[in-house]
């Protein structure tokens, strides 16, 4: 209920309500982006961009719907795009001298292997086990068939288990 009130307040121009919304959702948005990209700076940009999208679409946002899935959909999709683009750049622009991305600071031994996964697998693992969405909700968030979500979860977990052994 509080979230609906914050959204309504933000739509009416209340910075305080918008800040409550931001403070409530920033940590998980940033963490999700960090886990998918493995890059702190990119995670900051992606989470920030998701909130900027929220500002842009605030007036059209349906207050009856929860805010988090809408935000996480943007975060995870952009994080996947960023990760794919970085892989592509690494292959075609060997002459670039961009400083290396800092290593992700992950907690938990299993999560430490998440960086080895393909971006698509990282995304579903983060959504399922960090943000705690159900496979059905992940299916909606990423516009994927439920079976694809399940298979990506399975493969992602298997791969992480292999690396842990």
């Amino acid at each position: 209920m509080a979230e609906r009130a914050w959204i309504l307040g933000a739509q009416r121009g209340s910075v305080a309500d918008f800040e409550r919304l931001f403070r409530e959702h920033w940590p998980r948005a940033y963490r999700a982006a960090h886990l998918v990209t493995g890059d702190a700076a990119a995670a900051e940009d992606i989470a920030q961009e998701a909130f900027l999208a929220a500002v842009r679409n605030l007036d059209r946002f349906d207050r009856r719907r929860p805010f988090a899935p809408w935000l996480h959909r943007i975060v995870v999709n952009r994080a996947i795009d960023w990760t794919r683009a970085r892989k592509l750049r690494a292959e075609v622009e060997l002459g670039d001298w961009l400083p290396g991305a800092p290593a992700p600071e992950l907690d938990g031994s299993a999560l430490g292997h998440i960086a080895e996964l393909a971006p698509e697998h990282r995304a579903v693992i983060v959504l399922r086990y960090i943000l705690e969405y159900t496979p059905g909700e992940i299916s909606d968030l990423l516009d994927l068939p439920r079976g694809t979500v399940n298979s990506r979860l399975r493969r992602g977990l298997d791969r992480m288990k292999e690396q842990a052994e």
Binding site: F18, E44, E49, L52, V55, A85, D96
Partner: protein, 370 residues
């Protein structure tokens, strides 16, 4: 993470602060309707807002500012203006006393950093000219466009886009090289604070790169194809204009502000010389506006002028006192200075195209050297 949260909140709060409300069409009052009938009028609302107080400037039958000068007799301040008739091969040089010279059949042209030379393009050449139109050198390239020249009096570079991608050549026409084959859309922009350092868009990312060494300073993922990149004079800010919003990056590539307006397109943008004031053209439905935001002071965007139809390019005078706004719908140019508007009519006749259709004139960044 707390630092990241703090930085992000600063940016997001600024965006929230400067959110513009969606335009709400207003029903005209009875008095205004009467005025329009008396004046046989359609409307031009020249809304001049020092501190925001709108003044209806002109009402007349045709779209445009009444009592506009019939021709461009002079520029309102010192400087020289390049006028490019896009895709129809005409470049004119207009002096502040009104003297106008057609430089030749080129598709685009820009000044050198100190206004001593120009770089122009046609379908197959990049050409360096002097202000008389005499060719100093030329380089055969496929479909060169969007040339941008930077540097000191003795050491300059020209960036341009060709069919092969983004390229850079020295100001004397030597050392032409490919910088990025995927950068083919938005015109590049030289960093005004760092020598030979270029911002450009490549695959949805803004890249800042030293074109001599190849070193990349930073990349900023933006996820859209920008229509323009604009540095502030001091190199503190880079504005990325991308249709639905303008993203202002700082010198490290971090987002500092965004400017957007629900339901509207942001079609043009330009920093005023020597300041962090940024003029932006907003198109919403059948109406256009010119607003100015101060990147250092989040808050309301100041409305300079509004009118029906489309506004085109904008260009600041070198002394930053005047903003030139092309208004193709009205066949006029507007020179805006605070509450003062100086309008010039019959632009099509003065910069004609061979097919006699109205020109799409490029002016942005081409008012030089007061």
């Amino acid at each position: 993470m707390r630092d990241a949260e703090h930085r992000a909140w600063e940016v997001v709060k600024r965006a929230f602060d400067e959110r513009m409300p969606a335009s709400v069409p207003r029903r005209p009052s009875r008095h205004l309707v009467a005025a329009l009938v008396v004046a046989l009028g359609a409307v031009v609302a020249a809304v001049l807002s020092p501190p925001g107080r709108a003044v209806f400037h002109q009402v007349r039958e045709a779209v445009g500012v009444q009592h506009a000068a019939p021709a461009l007799f002079s520029l309102p301040t010192r400087g020289r203006l390049l006028v490019v008739s896009a895709a129809h091969g005409g470049v004119w040089l207009v002096h502040d006393n009104g003297l106008k010279r057609r430089l030749g059949s080129y598709d685009d042209a820009q000044w050198s950093p100190h206004g001593r030379f120009l770089v122009a393009t046609n379908a197959s050449s990049l050409v360096a000219l002097d202000p008389r139109g005499d060719v100093r050198w030329s380089l055969i390239r496929r479909e060169p466009r969007s040339p941008r020249w930077e540097g000191t009096l003795t050491d300059t570079r020209i960036a341009y886009i060709s069919a092969s991608g983004l390229r850079v050549v020295a100001g004397d026409g030597t050392g032409d090289k490919l910088i990025d084959r995927r950068a083919k859309d938005a015109p590049p922009a030289w960093d005004t604070a760092k020598a030979h350092t270029l911002a450009y868009e490549s695959s949805g990312t803004v890249v800042l790169r030293n074109t001599d060494t190849g070193r990349i300073d930073w990349r900023a993922p933006i996820g859209v194809v920008p229509s323009g990149l604009e540095w502030s004079d001091d190199g503190h800010y880079l504005a990325v204009v991308s249709g639905q919003r303008i993203v202002v990056l700082d010198a490290r590539g971090h987002v500092r502000r965004t400017v957007s307006m629900l339901g509207a397109s942001l079609t043009e943008g330009a920093f005023a010389p020597g300041s962090h004031r940024f003029a932006v053209v907003v198109r919403s439905g059948s109406r256009s506006e010119v607003r100015v935001v101060d990147v250092d002071r989040p808050g309301h965007a100041r409305l300079l002028f509004a009118g029906p139809g489309a506004f085109g390019d904008i260009a600041w005078s070198p002394d930053a006192r005047w903003l030139l706004v092309a208004w193709p719908t009205a066949d006029q140019w507007l020179f805006l200075h605070g509450a003062h508007v100086h309008a010039v009519a019959n632009i099509n006749e003065q910069f004609p195209r061979s097919d006699h259709r109205g020109p799409r004139l490029r002016l942005a960044g081409r008012w030089c050297c007061g």
